[in-house]
Symmetry: C2
Subunit: 371 residues, 2 copies
């Protein structure tokens, strides 16, 4: 099976590495023209010639990022199977539609307003109560196009700084921690859920994900599964879907956002679960049986942001797995990650202290359950 | 680090898949001109132009099979680091030298004679006592160039059938089982040993490897480690080395042969050990710290020989991992393998029965420890 991937970054690369053993071969189309996948057949551009070459080289198409031209995806869907569908893509491209879907499925979210002007933004801050987070409804990624407003009178500056026509304004949630759940649904309808991960963002960028969480109740895991199952069903979704949530002190969950793809908070599955999110995404879109999503051991994923790490220092920890993407160093850029495993969480935290001391600019991990 | 691999089959492909996350990129030189690796930059031929292009594309060279022109390896060694060295290669290319090395290191082997004529072969059968196994001293691979002689008067026919100038003749060993140990030695001198595997060959081709073995004593594991450590030290070896052994009913071990490379009986490590043999080989030749060789769970590797398997049937076992090589079906050809894992050996055998029923022409597994 020849699989075409829209986008050609590290997620595409890791999909390809997971797919070779299944007998898959890969083509990539990078509309932006800055591919880093460096595996398979990489095409760039979005003109009709590039798209034709890409579709001719593929039996089945998927994508590694959601900020895609929907018309391009629809054109490809007219020719061949594309998973996830353009419907999932459209919802995930628009925070307003995403929130509306959450609400329609009774998935709790932070209180929010959609606003189309600085004045509406100011009114929203007053209605929701400062502080609030204002985000452009489209093209948000890794903290870009966002602002925190601490008072209504910051609305004008924030509106100009973000510079979009429509914003979603969210009440600031005093959450205990950020978590995510990753689920996968095959073309056959088969469903599987990974154990939830606890995530630590810093300056809007994911820094750590730990899974399984040592202190998550079965009830909370089931609740997260129920929410993401509702999304999978509503969208007739095929592939890996990620739902990021806030967890409150009382254990309840609020949906933050979702991503129609393999996700950074699921990289731990490469070395921490029986079947990685990458392999299960490929199984799902090919209609193959899903692999076990069971965790093998506690795992912490450490992102390498902007600066590379000393290889020897990392690998001198025998249970550390390095995953470089082959990307050059650049401030704020995800250039790799480390998956660190341990037989139990206490040992994992000890190892994490040793390993992160070698990771440039790594913040102190902030995990709720730290023993 | 740009790594050049001599040979471009499935072992090279799996090395590349393991090396991408370390930041390695790969070139291959397939002297035989039938590459199947289908990843990285694949060159074919052994003329000076191909060799020059290969060496210019590489910072460091290794190989995935040992039946290489030593002069080619020596020429490359004059230009750049090549691991393992030509010394290991020469020994492994000649069964006579291999046996002599075993003997010089006091590693027990089956009684043997080197013969250079049908008459000498006949004499050897008489001296060792029939049955014996006669093998060409060079280019033996997967049962080719071998014959079993059940009486001295079969010597003339066997000599002609094998058609080599020198043979090694071995007393037939009434072993309990075939086992192997895989070790890895880094350029830094760091050493690591994988748990031994029990191997089941059928018609001269490996069919199953199971590791860890449920019934191997710590003493036997340590003995195997001592033997392979002696070989690593004697050869100042760098990379993964495999030693195949016979185990007698009393637990003692006899060395059969060794391979200076990642090995089919170590494929279980991809899904059954913390660090795969492929990743550890790459770490070793780059002088990086080695990853843990600890087994995560009992694993059985099932080879796919000649005929492909129904993907859905295999993957419907949630802990089965399929590894296809992208090769066409052909009688006797290794086209892929399945790694099957389980929480314990009893469950592993149950799963093995289910999975192998879907593997074409799979013999009944013959494991000593079957509960």
């Amino acid at each position: 099976m020849r699989i075409g991937i829209l986008g050609a970054g590290q997620l595409g690369q890791m999909l390809a590495l997971a797919g070779y053993p299944l007998g898959n071969r890969f083509s990539f189309l990078d509309p932006g023209g800055r591919p880093s996948a460096d595996i398979g057949h990489v095409l760039t551009g979005s003109d009709s010639e590039a798209v034709a070459a890409f579709s001719e080289a593929s039996d089945l198409i998927t994508y590694e990022f959601e900020h895609l031209d929907v018309a391009l995806v629809e054109a490809l869907e007219a020719k061949m199977p594309v998973f996830p569908s353009n419907r999932a893509l459209k919802v995930c491209q628009h925070r307003g539609e995403e929130k509306a879907l959450f609400s329609s499925l009774s998935i709790p979210t932070p209180a929010y307003r959609l606003v189309g002007s600085a004045a509406e933004l100011e009114a929203a801050v007053k209605a929701l109560g400062a502080p609030v987070v204002a985000k452009s409804v489209t093209e948000g990624y890794d903290g870009k196009g966002q602002a925190v407003l601490r008072a209504p009178d910051e609305a004008f500056d924030a509106w100009n700084a973000i510079g979009h026509q429509q914003l979603v304004v969210e009440a600031f949630v005093e959450f205990e921690r950020e978590v995510s759940i990753i689920a996968v649904r095959s073309r056959t309808g088969e469903l599987a859920f990974y154990p939830m991960a606890e995530n630590h963002h810093h300056e809007g960028i994911l820094r750590y994900s730990m899974a399984p969480m040592p202190d998550v109740s079965e009830a909370v895991q089931r609740q997260a599964e129920a929410y993401i199952r509702a999304l999978l069903d509503a969208l007739e979704y095929v592939g890996v879907l990620t739902l990021e949530l806030f967890q409150n002190a009382d254990g309840t969950l609020l949906a933050n956002e979702m991503a129609p793809r393999v996700h950074n908070s699921g990289h731990w599955t490469q070395d921490g679960a029986v079947t990685s999110q990458f392999e299960n995404h490929l199984r799902a879109i090919q209609g193959l049986p899903l692999g076990s999503t069971r965790a093998l051991h506690p795992t912490c994923m450490i992102n390498l942001i902007g600066k590379d790490v000393d290889t020897e220092a990392v690998l001198s920890e025998p249970d550390a797995h390095l995953h470089r993407y082959g990307k050059e160093e650049r401030a704020g850029r995800k250039i790799g990650h480390i998956n660190l495993t341990a037989p139990d969480h206490a040992e994992l935290f000890e190892r994490l202290d040793r390993v992160r001391s070698n990771v440039p600019d790594a913040p102190a991990p902030r995990f709720l359950a730290r023993p």
